[in-house]
Subunit: 443 residues, 2 copies
């Protein structure tokens, strides 16, 4: 190794980037840094999920949309992932009486993709490993690290310790980030974690006679005011159903018979599809999971460390943007690396400056949708919303772009989309549309 | 000890309450629990300030108002503390041209008191010690504690460890609470810390010919948009001046000459009063201090631990309620102890239920005033605000009570005061008063 030039593109080959967390954003980031020629070390506290049995406790499927796809494309992964996703062109609203009504996500040809979290993670880890400069270290639990030197200590399974020295530490270790804990000790670090009163629970709807039990190319939604269920299709022709409900209400359902009674009342059409026996059993498989919204600022610590994905901004799942925002983090960071010639001391503050307002905007939007949902979302509301969107679009076709479209099908910066939305809302008000009919869209 | 009865008033004598933190709220709490007959152990990480030299880094004086006084009264401390405070009946607004204009805090006879933080702390510690059941433990740094058993481990100066077992742990250990760290590890604990872009710096204005350099019975304010200085009188006839300014701006002033230049431009009347030489020197005595707003929920952990004061809700200082809210915490807890017969398993959740909305309301109000101040507060604004208040009060004398009055001179619950304020604002709008003229009041 004798790089006599100062060109950082060459010196990057000597620099070690430690990516903490081998989940979705960590694995994608490994690809990005490896592609630039850095020595990439990924540290994941769990075992390699490619060898592991079923991973429990995290949502099984996710909705991939434009931002996530663009981020995958940059490292040549878009086609591979899209080919294993199931397009969802519309929401399918299930009324209490069993009526199903589709509401398209956008214009013709605009759709989101149901993707399998575990498979996506595996593909990204394998992609990262194709770079000779990348090393994946599993079962490495971060014990300590220095904000000054970048020295890191990991605990191995047998109690042994391992040390490495990193030029840049990229914290992609999720909503309960160990990396972020050091940020909390710094002066003037802003941080919030907000749990919502709802929990969620996943159920499986099996195939019927080898076919999907419901129409596959839809995100199925059962809106029932404070309760809601959604279902996303999987490649194996099952659906994963997710039930959202206040924790208080979960506590009221404690026996199999109560589960059936509850479903009879709110989701009667789902009982035969999930199967009464499976429902009674699987409902109690895991306790209801909590959902947290995390915001913080800054995202960097000197020129040594940067946070991305859930570690920087966990969002509640009511805008379908958690993974997409995390993937776009990698893309935005990559763009700034280009602009500022890989100079970490300039790139990191710029990343904070550019990305914080956008991540905060999507976190707020997701929370806003949660609050909206909690207060008045039923089937009629959903169908009415469609009417309002169409009406606005009809009277101002060139100026009104639905917020959902900007968020889901463009790379308009999140905070710009929100600004524009407020502006559009004002225009709507001038035309006599009251603010209860605001442009929002769940999932 | 043979208490054969189940009366908790008697059994309280066997129970150990560990108060963590011997600052203002911790010391007051010690009095409250001792008065009820509990065995009180106060643990403070620093030395006894009654023996210590000057305590640095915390604001020297504070404004005591109704809520704080009521809390002191309940343990017989009001008169002692009030006798050492200096009444401030009005704000005194200093214009750039040197004009001084008073704005009363309330009606005739309504005033706030400038009190010395160190003296108040000393008095409260000594008051706590008058109870035979209270033990003050200084230089005890909390190492660890169990949320299940109440077992606590403290580190002593020489490296020795000390263990105790508490029935109730009361976390009064300030904005960076060590007790609160355990809460963060619990599921569904909501937490936020927000630093504001302003810092503060304290300066002393000495007496002139043995007398106060300015009129003593006022809180002096120099509002200069994003800069602001205030001054509170002390018993030794000095004033403590506090300069609030964005950190960016602090960084622009690095030499003694620049300090003078800066004061010439914004606070010319203060230069001869502080003294040019002292100003040049003292300005650099300590770096500008950060201000943080902390909110969290719940305030309790099972029946074992509860947070009060800054540990539960640090507020920015722009409503003068930080200490008053902390003292009122003790009073509210005491009221609930009466209502629920000292049953911790009922008292702690009830305290969270009742107190969280109020503490969040005052934290938000203080932040709201900060944002208002930052955007447009100058001398004219202050004087105009007075006009608006008077006008509203004139047209609706029985229904409009200024927000500042409710917060400062009553025990109206903070969140009720805010609700009422919004209502009044709506009434004002109906009478043609626009929302830029909202009822707010700094300090």
């Amino acid at each position: 190794m004798d790089y006599s030039t100062n060109d950082s593109k060459s010196t990057s080959k000597n620099k070690v980037v430690a990516v903490v967390g081998g989940g979705l954003v960590g694995a994608l980031n490994a690809c990005y840094f490896a592609k630039r020629g850095f020595q990439v070390e990924v540290f994941e506290s769990r075992e390699d999920i490619r060898q592991a049995k079923i991973v429990k406790g995290r949502s099984i499927n996710l909705a991939l949309s434009h931002r996530g796809r663009q981020a995958l494309k940059q490292v040549g992964m878009e086609d591979t992932i899209v080919s294993k996703g199931i397009p969802m062109h519309s929401r399918m609203i299930h009324s209490l009486n069993g009526t199903q009504s589709p509401i398209p996500y956008g214009k013709k040809g605009q759709y989101i993709l149901s993707v399998d979290r575990a498979n996506l993670n595996k593909e990204l880890l394998s992609a990262a490993e194709t770079y000779s400069t990348t090393k994946l270290n599993f079962a490495h639990k971060l014990l300590n690290w220095s904000t000054e030197t970048g020295a890191m200590t990991f605990l191995r399974a047998a109690g042994a310790k391992e040390e490495i020295q990193a030029d840049l530490i990229v914290g992609c270790d999720g909503a309960f980030s160990a990396i972020r804990k050091q940020f909390l000790r710094q002066s003037r670090f802003n941080f919030s974690q907000t749990y919502i009163p709802h929990g969620y629970l996943e159920l499986t709807m099996p195939p019927i006679n080898g076919e999907f039990a419901m129409k596959p190319n839809y995100l199925h939604i059962w809106p029932r005011n404070t309760f809601m269920m959604i279902a996303l299709p999987n490649l194996d022709k099952t659906f994963t159903c997710t039930l959202f409900m206040p924790f208080d209400e979960f506590e009221n359902v404690t026996t199999g018979d109560q589960v059936i009674e509850f479903f009879q009342k709110y989701f009667p059409d789902a009982i035969p599809l999930i199967g009464a026996d499976a429902l009674k059993r699987d409902y109690f498989h895991l306790p209801a999971q909590a959902m947290v919204s995390v915001k913080c600022s800054p995202y960097h610590l000197s020129d040594k460390c940067v946070l991305m994905g859930d570690a920087a901004h966990a969002v509640v799942p009511f805008y379908g943007q958690g993974m997409n925002a995390g993937f776009e983090d990698c893309l935005v960071f990559n763009e700034i690396m280009d602009q500022l010639n890989e100079d970490f001391s300039a790139v990191l503050p710029e990343y904070t400056r550019v990305r914080v307002p956008d991540d905060h905007a999507i976190a707020d939007l997701a929370m806003y949708n949660y609050v909206e949902m909690r207060s008045h979302v039923n089937s009629k509301w959903f169908l009415f919303r469609k009417y309002v969107d169409n009406f606005l679009h009809m009277i101002m076709p060139r100026t009104v772009i639905p917020l959902y479209t900007m968020v889901t099908f463009t790379r308009t910066r999140y905070h710009e989309a929100v600004k524009r939305w407020h502006w559009q809302d004002k225009q709507g008000q001038k035309k006599g549309i009251d603010s209860n009919q605001r442009d929002t869209a769940l999932f």
